[in-house]
C-alpha cells in the first residue's frame, strides 16, 4: 500500500503515453516523405531489437546516456542545471585514456579500476569547478558549465595532439591503452561490444537512488535543491552541498569514458561523443530524474539511435535523420505533459457532470 501511495499510477503512465504519442507523431513525418509509417516502425523495431547483435548495439548506445542522464538528474536534485556533462565526459574519457596509455604495466583488474576512478575524478573536478564558483562566487552554473564544455574540448584536443598522440594515425586520437586496461565484453551479444560498462551503469543507477533517498547527505542534497533557505535554516551547509553535487554530477558524466575508452575504442578519440552530454538532459527529463526512469529513457534513445541506422539501406525516402525527428518529437511530447493534465481534468469533469 505504501509503495502504491508513493508511486502514483499517473506518474508512470504519463511518460509512457507521451513517448507513444511522440513516436506516432514522428513516424507520421515519414508518411509525408512517402513511406508507410508502419513499415518504417517495423524496420525500426527490428533493427533495434531484432537480433542479439542489434540488442547489443542498442545497449552500447544506451550506456553512456545512462551516465549523462544520471549526471544531469543528480545536479537537478540539488537545484542545479548541469549543461556541462559533455565537457565532463570528455575530461573523464581523456583521463581514462591517459592513465591507460601512461601506466601500460599496471596489473590486470587493478588497471581498469584505476582508470575508472581517474575518469570519475577528472569529470568530478570539471563539474566541481562551476560548483565552487556558484557556491563561493555566486556565478551561475548554467553559464559556467556551458563555457567549460568548450574549454574541455580545447584542452582535450591540445593534449591529444601534443602530449599523447597516436603517431600511427591521421586521426586526432591518443595512443592505445595497455591491454590490461581493456574491460571484457559479453559474448552473448556477439560482435556488439557490450562491455562491463553496462552493469557498472546499472550499479551506479542503484547507487544514485540509494545515495539520494537513503543517506543523510543525499537528503541534504535534495533539501538544498527543494528550498535552500529552509535547508540553511536547518543547519545544512548549502555551499558545500552545491560543490559536492556538481562534483558528483561531473564524476557520473566522467564515467562515460569507461565504456567508450576501456570498453570499445581502447583510446581517446577526439569528438567521439555525438552529444551524449546534451542528450543526457533529455534522458533525465524523460526519466523524471529517477534512476529507473533514466535507465529506461536511455534505452529508448539508444534504441532510436540504433533502430534508425538501418533506414538508409532499407527505405528509399527516409534516412537516419528521422532519429533526430523522433527524439525531438518524444522530447516535445514529454515536456508538454501539462497537456495531459488538461485532458485528464476534462475527462474527470465530464464524468462528474454525467455522474
Amino acid at each position: 500500500m505504501r509503495l502504491l501511495r508513493r508511486v502514483q499510477i499517473g506518474q508512470v503512465l504519463k511518460p509512457v503515453f507521451s513517448v507513444a504519442l511522440g513516436l506516432t507523431l514522428g513516424l507520421l513525418v515519414t508518411k509525408i516523405a512517402g513511406e508507410d509509417p508502419w513499415h518504417v516502425f517495423k524496420i525500426l523495431v527490428n533493427s533495434a531489437f531484432g537480433s542479439r547483435y542489434d540488442l547489443g548495439m542498442t545497449l552500447v548506445y544506451a550506456t553512456p546516456l545512462i551516465f549523462t542522464g544520471l549526471s544531469v538528474a543528480f545536479a537537478f536534485h540539488a537545484g542545479l542545471f548541469n549543461i556541462g556533462a559533455e565537457g565532463q565526459l570528455a575530461m573523464g574519457a581523456f583521463a581514462a585514456a591517459a592513465i591507460g596509455y601512461r601506466l601500460q604495466n599496471l596489473p590486470p583488474y587493478i588497471a581498469p579500476l584505476v582508470a575508472t576512478l581517474g575518469a570519475a575524478l577528472a569529470g568530478g573536478i570539471w563539474g566541481g569547478i562551476p560548483g565552487w564558483l556558484r557556491a563561493k562566487r555566486g556565478s551561475h552554473e548554467v553559464i559556467n558549465t556551458i563555457m567549460l564544455n568548450f574549454v574541455a574540448a580545447g584542452c582535450c584536443g591540445w593534449a591529444t595532439i601534443y602530449l599523447i598522440p597516436n603517431l600511427d594515425s591521421q586521426n586526432p586520437e591518443t595512443g592505445a591503452v595497455g591491454a590490461n586496461f581493456m574491460i571484457p565484453h559479453f559474448a552473448f551479444f556477439g560482435e556488439a561490444p557490450v562491455s562491463f560498462a553496462l552493469p557498472l551503469a546499472l550499479l551506479v543507477a542503484f547507487g544514485f537512488w540509494f545515495f539520494l533517498w537513503r543517506t543523510v547527505t543525499g537528503f541534504e542534497v535534495r533539501a538544498v535543491g527543494q528550498n535552500e533557505s529552509a535547508a540553511r535554516a536547518a543547519g545544512i551547509d548549502a555551499s558545500k552541498v552545491r560543490i559536492l553535487s556538481l562534483f558528483v554530477a561531473g564524476a557520473l558524466a566522467g564515467l562515460v569514458g569507461v565504456g567508450e575508452v576501456l570498453g570499445t575504442a581502447g583510446r581517446f578519440k577526439l569528438g567521439f561523443s555525438p552529444g551524449y552530454g546534451f542528450i543526457g538532459i533529455a534522458v533525465a527529463l524523460l526519466g523524471r530524474n529517477r534512476p529507473i526512469g533514466i535507465v529506461l529513457a536511455a534505452l529508448l534513445f539508444g534504441a532510436l539511435h540504433k533502430g534508425t541506422s538501418d533506414l538508409d539501406l532499407e527505405t528509399e525516402n527516409v534516412t537516419r535523420d528521422i532519429s533526430l525527428i523522433l527524439q525531438a518529437a518524444v522530447i516535445l511530447c514529454v515536456s508538454s505533459e501539462g497537456v495531459w493534465d488538461l485532458f485528464l481534468k476534462r475527462g474527470r469533469k465530464k464524468e462528474a457532470k454525467n455522474g
Partner: protein, 520 residues
C-alpha cells in the same frame, strides 16, 4: 430594503473539492459587512467570484437588484466588475512602486487632454490630463476625508498610505461596492483605527463595504453585520449587536475556543539562554544597540511593525556566521558566544526555531511532509545512523507527532504544500519540539493559522516555558504579544524603544511606541 449584493446558493469546486458549497448571503446597501472564517473556509473564493476572478459552477449573484453574471451570461473578468462599480483591495497591494501616487490612481483610466481629443491617433498615444484628474481626486478625497499627497512616488509611502491609495483608486473609478481582503494584516494599530474611521465615513456616504478578516475584535468594532464561513458553507449570520467575539470564534471553529490564554504565574527563572550586549548591525544600522536577555522559564515578546529590524535580528541569531564582518557587540546563545557557532551547532545545541516565513525557511513544499519533518533532525539518532536514514524511525516519530499534535491529514506522505497553514505550522512545531528546546525562537508563530490551531500553538509555547525553556517571541499580533509575554520589548527602526513587564502595557501604549512615538 434593497441589497447591494446577494449570493444565491453559490457553488464553486476546485479539483472535486467544494471551496464554496451553496453560499447564500445578503449585503445591505450602505453597510459594512464582515466575512469571517478560518483559512480555507471559502471567504476569498466567494469574494473572488463577486469580483469576477472566478466563475461559479452554479448559483447566482445579484448586484443592486440585477442578476450579475450567472451561467447563461458569465462575466469574464475583474474589469467587468470594476465597470459595474465593484472594486477590490487585495491583501498584497497592486501598485507600481516607482510611479507617483497620481499615476497609480489613474492607471488604466487615464483621462485624455482636451486639445488631443480629436487628433487622429490611437488613444494610448495621447497626452494624459493630469490637472483635471488631480482636481477630481481632490474633490473625492475631500468628500471622504482621505487626504493624500499626489506627488511622491508610491514606494516612499508607508503601508497605511499605500492602502489609502488603493481605496482612492476604487473611489476614482466610482466603485460603490468595496471589497477589502484582510486590510489590517499589515497595519499598525493606529493605522488600523484610521482606516476604520475612513471606512465608516465611506459607509455614511452610501458605499457598501465587504471586509474579509479573521480578526474578531475588528469585526465587532467595525462591522454592521457579519457572516461566518466554515468549510465552504455559511454557518451563521449575525447583527453585530447580538454577537461577541467568543460567539463568533465558536461559530468559526465549530467548538468552544479559549481566545485569550493567560499563562500560569512565572516559574522560577533559570540561567540566561540568550544574551545580547550592545549589538549593532552594519553601517546602515539595521539593528542599533540592542541589549536584551532571555532566561529559561520566561517568554520575552518583541513587538513592532514589520520591517523594523525583527527579521534581521532573527536571521542574525540563526546565521551568525554571515554577519561576522558587520556585527558589533556580543551575542551569547546558551552560554556560548555565537560568532563562533555555525547554524548546525546552534540548532543541535538545543535551540528550536519557528521561522518567520514557514514556506521559505521551514518546509520542503513539493515533497511529502515527512521530509519537512526530517529537515534539521536528519543527522540525529534515531532518524539516521552512520549516515543512513532510517525510514522506520521517521515513520514512527511522524505518526507520534500526528497523534500528539492532531495533524490533518493524518499521514505523513501528503505533499507538504497541500496542507493548510495551521497543519504546516504544527509539523514545524512537532519538529522543533522533538528535542525539548532550551531556547525557543518563535517568529510569527500563528501567522496565517486558523483560530483552533492558534489556541493549540499558544498552549505549546506556554508548555515550553513551564518546562523551563526560554522563549523569544517575535510577533506583529498585539494580542499574542500581550497574552503570552512575560516581558515585552518594542522595536522601532532597529532599536528597542520600550520595555514593559506583564500587565504594564496596553494595546494603545504599545501601538504608539510601535509607531515611533517617543513619549506618551
Amino acid at each position: 430594503m434593497s441589497f447591494a449584493v446577494e449570493f444565491k446558493a453559490l457553488t464553486k469546486t476546485f479539483n472535486g473539492v467544494a471551496a464554496n458549497a451553496g453560499i447564500s448571503l445578503k449585503v445591505k446597501k450602505g453597510s459594512i459587512h464582515a466575512i469571517v472564517g478560518e483559512n480555507g473556509a471559502g471567504k476569498s473564493t466567494a469574494m473572488k467570484m463577486l469580483y469576477g476572478t472566478y466563475q461559479p459552477d452554479s448559483g447566482e449573484i445579484w448586484v443592486d437588484g440585477k442578476l450579475w453574471g450567472g451561467r447563461s451570461k458569465p462575466w469574464s473578468s475583474p474589469s467587468d466588475a470594476i465597470h459595474c462599480g465593484i472594486g477590490m483591495v487585495h491583501q498584497h497591494f497592486m501598485l507600481a512602486g516607482t510611479h507617483t501616487v497620481l499615476d497609480n490612481i489613474l492607471l488604466g483610466v487615464e483621462p485624455i487632454r482636451k486639445e488631443w481629443k480629436y487628433l487622429p491617433i490611437p488613444n494610448f498615444l495621447k497626452g494624459i490630463d493630469r490637472t483635471r484628474a488631480a482636481k477630481r481626486l481632490k474633490e473625492i478625497s475631500q468628500q471622504y476625508g482621505m487626504a493624500v499627497d499626489l506627488k511622491p512616488s508610491v514606494e516612499t509611502l508607508s503601508v497605511g498610505l499605500q492602502q489609502r491609495i488603493e481605496i482612492l483608486k476604487l473611489l476614482y473609478r466610482e466603485a460603490s461596492i468595496l471589497i477589502l481582503d484582510e486590510p489590517t494584516a499589515v497595519l499598525t494599530p493606529q493605522e488600523t483605527s484610521e482606516l476604520f474611521l475612513h471606512l465608516r465615513k465611506l459607509r455614511d456616504e452610501g458605499k457598501t463595504i465587504l471586509i474579509i478578516t479573521h480578526k474578531l475584535k475588528e469585526v465587532t468594532s467595525l462591522a454592521d453585520r457579519v457572516t461566518v464561513f466554515r468549510g465552504g458553507r455559511v454557518v451563521g449570520e449575525r447583527e453585530i449587536q447580538e454577537t461577541n467575539e467568543e460567539d463568533l470564534a465558536t461559530l468559526m471553529v465549530g467548538r468552544k475556543v479559549n481566545l485569550h490564554r493567560e499563562p500560569p504565574p512565572l516559574p522560577a527563572l533559570r540561567k540566561p539562554v540568550l544574551t545580547l550586549k550592545n549589538v549593532s548591525l552594519g553601517t546602515v544600522r539595521k539593528l542599533r544597540n540592542l541589549n536584551l536577555q532571555v532566561r529559561g522559564g520566561e517568554i520575552v515578546g518583541i513587538s513592532g511593525v514589520e520591517g523594523n529590524g525583527q527579521s534581521e535580528l532573527l536571521d542574525l541569531l540563526i546565521h551568525p556566521q554571515h554577519y561576522s564582518k558587520i556585527l558589533s557587540g556580543e551575542i551569547e546563545i546558551l552560554g556560548r558566544p555565537s560568532n563562533a557557532l555555525t547554524t548546525r551547532e546552534i540548532k543541535s545545541s538545543g535551540v528550536g526555531v519557528i521561522p518567520e516565513d514557514r514556506h521559505k525557511e521551514g518546509l520542503l513544499l513539493d515533497r511529502p511532509v515527512r521530509e519537512s519533518f526530517l529537515l534539521g533532525l536528519h543527522r540525529n539518532a534515531p532518524f539516521s545512523r552512520r549516515g543512513i536514514v532510517s525510514e522506520e524511525a521517521i515513520d514512527k516519530n511522524a505518526k507520534k507527532a500526528i497523534r500528539e499534535y492532531d495533524i490533518r491529514p493524518a499521514h505523513a506522505y501528503a505533499r507538504c504544500g497541500a496542507l493548510s497553514g495551521g497543519n504546516q505550522q504544527k509539523w514545524i512545531i512537532a519538529r522543533e519540539f522533538h528535542q525539548t528546546p532550551e531556547l525557543l525562537i518563535a517568529a510569527q508563530p500563528t501567522r496565517g493559522v486558523d483560530v483552533g490551531a492558534i489556541e493549540f500553538i499558544h498552549q505549546k509555547i506556554i508548555d515550553a516555558r513551564m518546562a523551563g525553556s526560554g522563549v523569544l517571541l517575535v510577533s506583529s499580533e498585539l494580542d499574542e504579544i500581550l497574552d503570552l509575554s512575560d516581558r515585552i520589548l518594542v522595536f522601532y527602526e532597529g532599536e528597542i524603544v520600550g520595555e514593559f513587564n506583564r500587565g504594564e502595557a496596553s494595546e494603545k501604549v504599545l501601538g504608539l511606541r510601535m509607531g515611533g512615538a517617543a513619549d506618551l
